[in-house]
Symmetry: C2
Amino acid sequence: MVEHILNLDSVFASLSDSTRRDILRRVAEKQLSVSEVAKPYKLGFAAISKHLKVLEKARLIIKHRQGKEHIIQLSPAAVKNAADYLIHYQTIWDRRFDALEMLLIHLPAEEKTGWPKTIKAPRKTL
Amino acid sequence: MVEHILNLDSVFASLSDSTRRDILRRVAEKQLSVSEVAKPYKLGFAAISKHLKVLEKARLIIKHRQGKEHIIQLSPAAVKNAADYLIHYQTIWDRRFDALEMLLIHLPAEEKTGWPKTIKAPRKTL
DNA sequence: GTATCATTCAACCATATGGTTGAACATATC
DNA sequence: GATATGTTCAACCATATGGTTGAATGATAC
């Protein structure tokens, strides 16, 4: 099903930097040259180049040359795969979340859950 | 809607380490003491303790004392929030993915997309 | 109180990360 | 060919990360 190797370490590491998340977001809207990518930030070109290399290694973007410019685009396949994984994670967590929620709703708090009282029980409306 | 501050930097940084992802997965199944968490890995206790602190700071787990043991549980609220965010991300990406797919289906490849020919077009069945 | 068990803290080390600067490389233009 | 433009590379710096070891803390057991 998943054709490409999804390196979760590098994908999540890529996403752990807000500049890179912002770059991803902008590149998702429209393909950009490296200069265009760099424009909004007060970083040097080399720094942007490094960020792009991180994103490229994580297969979140594709870089290719067009004349003297290097064009950056979101890498559709890798993004799709990452999204699939995240959905899977989300499912696991939601299930667990529901289970914990059940516990909290049906048990008299602290007694069996072993939670400190300062921890709020999750709410359905959350 | 989101009550707690979701620090995406620390959440994604937490998820970028496979040991921590594994700990999260195991703790999601069942609450564990620090020793129990540590057991499967060949790391020292201090290393595990550090990993747990990273996860705690990212609000992905809750730690509390029970006698002389420290019990680790998945932090439901934070996990729910993280999952919500990931779903959102996934939605953005899926939308973008669909848009790229449209482009690739309806245009004669390389000419207007500017993609190198070695890049496979995404497939509906992916 | 003393010993023991569970865990953390402190100090240290190696490597990774995010940034800088300035030189180098491609491509386009004159 | 010379020059300008766009981007990367190399070297460097500061800080963060992931690990170690050994001492310190906190709670239980004797």
